[in-house]
């Protein structure tokens, strides 16, 4: 029964147009102040947010490199094309490995694989997480309890141990299997986050109004609730993407990645195996390591920036 005294409701910071007073006698209506949509206001802040710009810029740079890179190099990543242990030079921008492979070529091909796994794995995790989260948050009750139990079980499964066992059975693994595995194991926290937000939105009265209008539950979730959390869902996806990249790099690094092809983690794995550190071949492990760090770090920083853009209270006005 709280009475709101909304002297300055959100419409103050999000632009508003107070319609003129509606007088029964048709009195003078004050002209509405210029009206900007919430989206444009978000864009206005987006362009000014340093974190968002830096993060996005970094990720886009590497994405471009991943797309265009393989065309810049004529060497195949696994072929021996030059003298071994060569320092970076004009013919081999990132030098060569112990076997004379072009590191730059490995790098850009690896970037591609990284992005693909990140995208596929992250998307799968996001999809599962959202389905579970929305259903649990909207329905509540016994459905929620069962789904939460499921989420918690998957959360505590030691993914590494499972992967080791899976790896033992699948002698040939591709990028898709890796993405599938990542997708199937990293959705729990996304589900919990979505569930929590859904709970709070479902308790709002417009959901009751929608029910009273005869709208089926599925429509309510997809068209009333999800759009309200769109920024949240977007950020969740970004985090899952970054997480997937990191997990993939870790798996590749310990040799549980795809059995063929190239990836950044695999590069680092090889570098360690062939004593690149001791031999001082910094050009072999530094690019992939920094690459992963920059991409994942860029994604997280971008997310912090996005949070500030979407959430007016975090902005330092």
């Amino acid at each position: 029964m709280a009475v709101t005294d909304p002297e300055y409701p959100a419409s103050v910071l999000v632009p508003e147009a107070t319609a003129g007073p509606v007088l029964p006698g048709g009195g003078p209506a004050r002209p509405a102040a210029p009206r900007r949509s919430g989206r444009r206001e978000a864009l206005h802040f987006a362009f000014r947010n340093k974190k968002l710009l830096i993060g996005l810029g970094t990720v886009c740079f590497f994405l471009l490199l991943a797309i265009a890179g393989p065309y810049l190099t004529s060497y195949s990543p696994t072929a021996t094309v030059g003298p071994p242990h060569a320092h970076p030079s004009s013919s081999f921008w990132f030098g060569t490995t112990t076997f004379g492979q072009d590191v730059f070529s490995q790098f850009v091909h690896g970037l591609r694989a990284t992005f693909i796994v990140g995208l596929l794995g992250g998307s799968l995790a996001a999809l599962i997480g959202m389905v579970v989260g929305f259903t649990a948050g909207y329905r509540g009750g016994i459905v929620d309890e069962v789904l939460t139990m499921l989420t918690n079980v998957v959360l505590v499964i030691p993914t590494l141990a499972v992967l080791l066992i899976v790896a033992a059975y699948l002698t040939v693994r591709g990028v898709f299997i890796e993405a599938l595995f990542i997708g199937l194991t990293s959705w729990p926290w996304a589900a919990r986050a979505v569930r929590a937000q859904t709970f709070s939105l479902t308790s709002r009265e417009f959901v009751d109004v929608a029910r009273l209008s005869g709208i089926p539950d599925r429509s309510i979730i997809l068209r009333e609730i999800a759009p309200n959390m769109s920024s949240y869902l977007f950020m969740t996806f970004i985090l899952l993407f970054g997480g997937a990249v990191l997990i993939a790099a870790t798996l590749d690094f310990i040799g549980l990645g795809p059995t063929n092809g190239m990836s950044l983690g695999l590069m680092m794995n090889n570098a360690v195996l062939w004593a690149a550190l001791q031999l001082g071949m910094w050009w072999w492990f530094l690019p992939p390591g920094l690459g992963i760090m920059a991409i994942v770090g860029g994604l997280y920083v971008m997310n912090v920036g996005l949070d500030e853009v979407f959430n007016p209270k975090l902005r330092d006005t």
């Binding site: 909304p6 509606v22 417009f206 929608a210 029910r211 005869g214 759009p227």
Partner: protein
């Protein structure tokens, strides 16, 4: 409090609601116990109670947003708990609700038109666009708003009073028979409250039955024909508004009336009681086997066994 008429428009008979609480629902919370009352066309019935009285739960049961655990709610003689699919949709076309928080009742990312649009799919799908527009504008004008000023706007651009009226307009669009109004003006400014209330009074003249849920006795008295006083889910007093407010018989009703801040007279200046139970809690609870007794025509009170 069941009257002579064979079938009232809306009838609640010994309705109860028990919530499951705790892990795996092992605990129980009785929110509503054995509540009965009728609503006739053109009648405003107030459900009056403090928080925890069950009044909102009763409203939600009438709207089929939640189900009664026992007892029967019937509309035009038919038990509403059996309605599904098309029958439920038809019921919703006759019984609608308006809630407390006008800003929470609209999806903030859409304009207010969206709330009306939701009805079109379910109830007016076969209307042509100009017909729909006409119907829409007619219902908005019926609540004393100018369609030009309110359509196409976002909820945060309108005032609480306008938003509540629009929700009533939405309900009227369907040509409903019963409106459940749950604390619809408690979040509005004083200067607009009475206008929305008067709107309900005017709609009453058109034959609309209203279930008016409130904690504010002055509002209840201003607008209603019948009053039902609820305490912890149980009806303690009910009957015509004049009788219940003019001659309150139950101690709880008297306590409520005595606590209302007045502009006419000030509270009697007795020193503040020095115990930690305020108001309601100071009264002894009603015995579990108390029943409603007709103390005078159209006036029922809960009484323990004599």
């Amino acid at each position: 409090m069941l009257e002579g008429g064979v079938t009232a428009l809306l009838r609640l008979e010994r309705v109860s609601k028990v919530f499951r609480t705790g892990a795996l629902g092992r605990g129980e919370l009785t929110a509503v116990r054995d509540v009965s009352f009728d609503v006739e066309p053109g009648e405003i019935v107030s459900l009056i109670g403090e928080s925890g009285s069950g009044k909102t739960t009763i409203g939600r049961m009438i709207l089929r947003l939640t189900r009664a655990t026992s007892g029967a709610i019937s509309f035009n003689g038919a038990d509403i708990s059996s309605f599904e699919g098309r029958a439920l949709n038809a019921y919703r076309g006759e019984v609608q609700g308006v809630f407390q928080d006008p800003f929470s009742s609209y999806n903030p990312i859409f304009t207010v038109d969206h709330t009306f649009g939701m009805l079109r799919r379910g109830y007016c799908a076969d209307l042509t666009s100009p017909d729909w527009k006409g119907k829409l504008e007619a219902s908005i004008t019926a609540v004393s708003l100018d369609p030009e000023h309110v359509l196409g706007k976002y909820p945060h651009q309108l005032s609480g009073g306008q938003l509540q009226r629009l929700l009533i307009a939405r309900a009227l669009l369907l040509d409903i028979r019963i409106l459940v109004a749950d604390e619809i003006i408690s979040m509005l400014d004083a200067s607009t409250r009475v206008d929305v209330l008067n709107l309900l009074g005017d709609l009453k003249a058109r034959g609309l039955g209203v279930v008016f849920v409130t904690h504010d006795l002055s509002l209840g008295y201003y607008i209603s024909d019948k009053a039902v006083i609820l305490r912890s889910g149980v009806v303690v007093e009910s009957g015509s508004a004049e009788r219940v407010f003019g001659n309150p018989l139950h101690a709880y009703t008297r306590m409520l009336l005595g606590s209302v801040a007045q502009l006419e007279e000030r509270w009697v200046d007795d020193p503040a009681p020095a115990d930690d139970r305020e108001g309601e809690a100071r009264l002894p609870p009603d015995p579990p086997d108390a029943v409603l007794v007709e103390a005078e025509p159209n006036h029922f009170v809960l009484q323990g066994p004599v």
